[in-house]
Symmetry: C2
Subunit: 394 residues, 2 copies
């Protein structure tokens, strides 16, 4: 019989997707260039030319049977070695290729990491505001996602709530810095304190508590902001990465899990990932995409537009009197709505052709997310609509 739980999931339509569809439909009426669509977190700058050149060169010159042949189930060894070397050089780690497991983006990475370290009955903690797809990633494994209430002062960590929720049932803690949706970056102080508490509780409970660090925005960090590498602070860390945002390749589904070499059973965990894949039918990202990203590991798309857009929006939103934590990275900003009900506020914004996402979908009430991965020219044109929204309605 058809499995009810997946059938039921079809009912819960994504708020972000509905808003995006509204923006597209409105675009057909008035021209999409006139819709200030801040709904989707889709990169707005092209992949580095070198990626394209490498792809073409391989297609033209490599033996097609080798190029398109099976990858080993953990990923192509030379690719894994290069990723380890790049992470070691940047963050002073000591990974080898054996600590790297290639995945279909951060989604695949998190899905594997969660299955390695938790099962039915376990809890995984994350912090509001958080990416809503964590719910299916975790809840469909039998483990349960529990959300620690937000630190709304700075969108760092509400440690009082965290310490209370970090019970013996918690198998892992899932963080996301730089953060979607708040744009904030966890400070060294935050990560140190997090690591200290988790280490203490590991000792107290007598079992490992893993840190799963979701880092698709790792490369989008603004000037003057310190963005420490979470795995440096806590040995039992599984870093989950995607090249989607750094290289503007979201559709090519490429990323990895990097298991801290000092983690309990580190090489066993990466090896286990390939066993998990056998059950989920994942069986490695495409060979050609693995080989191509390995040649551009230390490049990024031109990400400067995101900082430009952030500065324009932060200035305007604060000038309009909205409370707003200044983003340290990503392409999101997360001001407080001028009324308690963020859903109602976003409905009003639609009248000004401003498409904003209410924070309810991210596990916190009263805020809105603007995904400013759009042309700066459009951001500038949107300011008048923002002013009218705030002045006319409030």
């Amino acid at each position: 019989m058809i499995v009810q739980k997946y059938k039921d999931m079809l009912q819960g339509k994504s708020v972000i997707r509905q808003l995006s569809e509204f923006a597209t439909a409105r675009g057909k009426e008035i021209g999409y260039e006139n819709v200030f669509d801040y709904s989707l977190g889709n990169p707005s700058v092209p992949v580095p030319q070198k990626f394209t050149d490498v792809m073409i060169d391989m297609l033209q010159h490599r033996n097609p049977m080798e190029l398109h042949g099976y990858s080993q189930s953990l990923g192509i060894p030379a690719v894994r070695d290069k990723i380890a070397a790049s992470l070691n050089a940047r963050f002073g780690m000591n990974y080898t290729g054996n600590h790297i497991f290639m995945t279909t983006g951060a989604a695949g990475a998190i899905a594997h990491a969660v299955r390695c370290v938790s099962g039915p009955g376990d809890e995984i903690l994350t912090f509001a505001p958080y990416f809503p797809e964590y719910n299916p990633y975790i809840n469909l494994t039998g483990a349960a996602l529990k959300v620690v209430p937000a630190d709304t002062a700075a969108f760092q960590i509400n440690f009082d709530a965290f310490e209370e929720m970090l019970t013996d049932r918690v198998a892992a803690v899932l963080i996301n810095s730089p953060n979607n949706p708040s744009g904030t970056v966890y400070s060294s102080e935050t990560l140190s304190r997090l690591a200290q508490i988790m280490s203490d509780r590991q000792r107290q409970y007598g079992h490992d508590i893993f840190l799963i660090s979701d880092e698709p925005y790792r490369e989008i960090v603004f000037e003057g902001v310190d963005s420490p590498y979470p795995s440096k602070f806590y040995d039992n860390t599984l870093s989950c990465y995607s090249f989607s945002k750094s290289l503007s390749l979201p559709g090519e589904r490429i990323g990895y899990v990097a298991v801290n070499p000092a983690c309990t059973d580190a090489e066993l965990i990466s090896a286990m990932c390939s066993q998990i894949s056998r059950g989920t039918g994942h069986n490695c990202p495409p060979s050609i995409i693995q080989l191509a990203v390995a040649e551009v590991l230390d490049l990024t798309a031109d990400l400067s537009v995101y900082e430009t857009n952030m500065r324009i929006l932060y200035k305007e939103l604060t000038a309009l009197g909205l409370e707003c934590v200044k983003p340290g990275g990503t392409f999101y900003i997360f001001p407080k709505a001028p009324e308690e009900d963020a859903v109602a506020f976003c409905e009003k914004a639609k009248k000004y052709d401003l498409i904003l996402v209410p924070s309810d979908t991210f596990g916190v009430k009263g805020y809105v997310r603007l995904a400013y991965c759009i042309d700066t020219e459009k951001v500038e044109r949107s300011l008048e609509a923002l002013r009218r929204l705030i002045k006319m309605e409030y």
Copy 2:
């Protein structure tokens, strides 16, 4: 804590992989050209040039943000429409794009199909000899794979055993024709009888019993062999396809599930697949690979070498007195070993630098698999080794 079941799976090393590693090691000693390596089912002919040309053309001329952008979670709509049209033209079906779900190869397709129609406590039946990866695909969902003993006379279906095992607990039946490892193709008579029995039992038990049809070898069918499309025989069919073998693209991980439009809740099932993906972190095959295969749906690599190799081997093996069902397709042949213990026979074969896979791994005893996706010149050179093996040892 680290999850034991995946840790345990690491112990069970694949026999096929071990043999392949032996062949590689032996190749380092005597030159790989002198090792008659029949272990791995890896395509030995290049992808059609048009695929390469399409990839290069897209990389050179398409807007990179569109080309590498997110695919919808069911796959790119235009790609799904083209696959539906191609299947309709070839097999007289009436699919629309809504019945197609894009996957990372047949592994991904089966993983999704199984999760759609079964859960813990359910049984899925398959027929020996069968592809051993079905075990993790199914057993890790909580359902249980049960293997119907082989029809060793013709490697069609042992219907007596099937009827006995087709109890009320069976949620789905998984077939693979053309078959790995036997190379046989289910006849219209076999598929009609299978469909009749399953239809009767659906009525008797009052619930659906789905047919999951694993078809990566669909395009490798030899002259004069009728290879009917299983979905034509039974409405509740989910066809699982991979382009790995037909296009020689195993590393690019691209395939689909096609749900028969007359299946119970057909469009709901394909939609459900995208919800399953949210949990497994699959989230679509890469956009560029989807777009490229859509341009070569009705092409294949030059598959003629497989038939040439099959004829040479079939003639020699039968001349040597081995019992052997003549393959109708694939790139496998499955003769009976000249002694009861196929593992012992394959050990002896190693002395002649012949790398054969014992049938125990495929759920039947006393046979061996030869994967003849190698150069014809090497097949011809291997005959002397085969003769020596049989004449010296038996």
